[in-house]
Symmetry: C2
Subunit: 436 residues, 2 copies
Amino acid sequence: MNNVPIISGKKWKDVQVVRFNQSFSISFHQQIEYMFEINENYLQLNESYLFSTIAKRIEKFSASHPEADIIRLGIGDVTLPLPPSVLQAMHNAVDEMGVKETFRGYGPEQGYAFLREKISEVDFRQRGIDISPGEIFVGDGSKSDTGNIGDILGEGNVVAITNPVYPVYLDTNIMRLGKSSQIVLLPCGEENGFLPEIPSHHLDVIYLCYPNNPTGTVMNREQLKQWVDYALENRSLILFDAAYEAFIRDNEIPRSIYEIEGAAACAIEFRSFSKNAGFTGLRCSYTVVPKVLTARSAEGSNISLNGLWNRRQSTKFNGTPYIVQKAAEAVYSPEGQQEVREMVSYYMRNAEMIREGLTEKGWTFFGGKDSPYIWLKCPGGMDSWTFFDRLLQECHIVGTPGVGFGSKGEGYFRLTAFNSHERTAEAVRRIKQWEY
Amino acid sequence: MNNVPIISGKKWKDVQVVRFNQSFSISFHQQIEYMFEINENYLQLNESYLFSTIAKRIEKFSASHPEADIIRLGIGDVTLPLPPSVLQAMHNAVDEMGVKETFRGYGPEQGYAFLREKISEVDFRQRGIDISPGEIFVGDGSKSDTGNIGDILGEGNVVAITNPVYPVYLDTNIMRLGKSSQIVLLPCGEENGFLPEIPSHHLDVIYLCYPNNPTGTVMNREQLKQWVDYALENRSLILFDAAYEAFIRDNEIPRSIYEIEGAAACAIEFRSFSKNAGFTGLRCSYTVVPKVLTARSAEGSNISLNGLWNRRQSTKFNGTPYIVQKAAEAVYSPEGQQEVREMVSYYMRNAEMIREGLTEKGWTFFGGKDSPYIWLKCPGGMDSWTFFDRLLQECHIVGTPGVGFGSKGEGYFRLTAFNSHERTAEAVRRIKQWEY
């Protein structure tokens, strides 16, 4: 029997030696005591992810009402097929994968240069923002990227998220830090226009998502500048989720946090191809980690977050599929840009229909102007889940209960603009006729 | 200014209040003190990932020797194009994505039922192993899956990996736990046939990879049974990486750990489509987490690891692309199975060529029989990196230095069977003629 060497030589667990072949001779109690441990933080999570809960309620309703024609304005999934230039790029890429000379195996974990260069050029440099290809990491979705970013952050941080919030920010932080950690909720309600106020406390890490999911609200340049200034002053890190930037129509609303001076020194930005180009089933995103963004290690060295994220991605990720990256590249062609603009316009016409319908109905709502999300106040003082159930049972419309995004979402409800014109119009018609 | 509520109410950081608008009035020293923290474990990692280091050395050599015809037998990347049935499935899937009626957006995070059912049937049930679709999680690669599995495990575990080892197991554990944690190395050398010995200590989590990367060795049924029995007795968790099972030719070698009685109660298995079906650039894998596999929480409840992994994947992953899952499904068709068998045979013919060449050369080596990897002992007592540099400079052949996989790999070198017959034959010819 060999002596097992230990890397650190420091913390060998003080347990009784259990020899193989003394098969099952140890007591049950001992077995429990020496069992491997799970990440107990998971036990502090809500039982299931919001959208799984909703899916189950729909399933149950459908099973007992198979005739019901349900309209889904709930989950933020797109419905238009992929645009022609994206399809053509994928067919070509599939052909390349079938020929020895053009077959592609492992690609760079950070993404292919052809895509990183296009992103840098079209999404940033053409808009006067200096983000280089080496600051862009292609990923398989913003859910993964915003979920995994915590890997490179320390456990001592005070982490701020808004309330209500996209549940992934909260859940992934509970998974990593537990509820007993320093997770801070920044309340967003009608009283502050659903925008978090600059706190008087020190915050280390701040998640911001604008245009916002779920409230559909946006931050103008001055409002975002206040957060950048706060972060620079406090040496905080802003995690800026710009997954919905394509829906911004008002030129006064920043599309990237890097439009704000100094943001490159304090912010990581997340972008997605899901909503603008319909990639929810294709899976492609990118994360911007500027090279000027540094932290200070415990021993006082400057540490590049670009380097840390690169190490994380190189070690725990093997790149987005080549064919998907070729699809994303096609989005940046002149035809692709035109097709994507048309898709966004299509969805924004839906948002307008919903806005018009709710206005006529006399309900209070927010968003839907520079965002595909409409955040409505449940009528008659209904709570979010009551409204969900009644809207499902009486109108056969699925939305998302606001309380699913946090306690400050109670009494609110999220509708999305991602269905078809026909279905959206039908949903609006049903809502208008609804006597609740 | 609102009071920021805290989830736990417990650990609010004791820092000076920094108010916005007192712009930059705090001292530099204070700024450092209150800066956000990074995951300092990353600073304990080697500077760069093994294969990035190799890539840089090749780049440097190529720059100064542009005429050199370099043969790559290093990284485990495949070279044959994707088989026809896989290509056809992808073209069909791309077409589906272009039509409203068949477009697919977000899929189930766990993978589509059509693929999970095929995997369950062909890879397990047809071989007499009872693994259900609900125990299978489709992922985007074994690097991600084996890297992310640590998310659901506790920080108090004694984690064992072999030495030498696939670097991802070690690096991801250092990222999560730091070097000062209980990471144990199980030495594998010529003295034990490169198979770890059953330890006399208690281990909580044990990574095993067979057929092994990098040594190309395999575990027979009796050897694997000893580990399963050890894990059952010690209530340990085995993380079994079977990425190379398709290369097993000897029927006495288990292709899945679940061929061993009791393994479902103590093991998670990782599988990949990368090497058998050439998916290194497509990205598809799966993880098996049996429903009978439970852990005990600190407060004494039984916790399903299937449930924990499901929660992890639902929260931090949005599924493998639909077109890639359709490609994987095609691998299970009769034509796909035949094509995949031919690809594996092709690569194994390369392994045979290398084995024959090295035998003739009189070098000592291991593996290459039930594995695409040949693990050779560097001749003349050379260390791994010296051999790497000389083989590159004098033969223009790239391999992987054994020491890159751990200290026990020093003096060894890994060659892979993934190049073409022609290039492999040429590499063997160069090695035979080499006077070192």
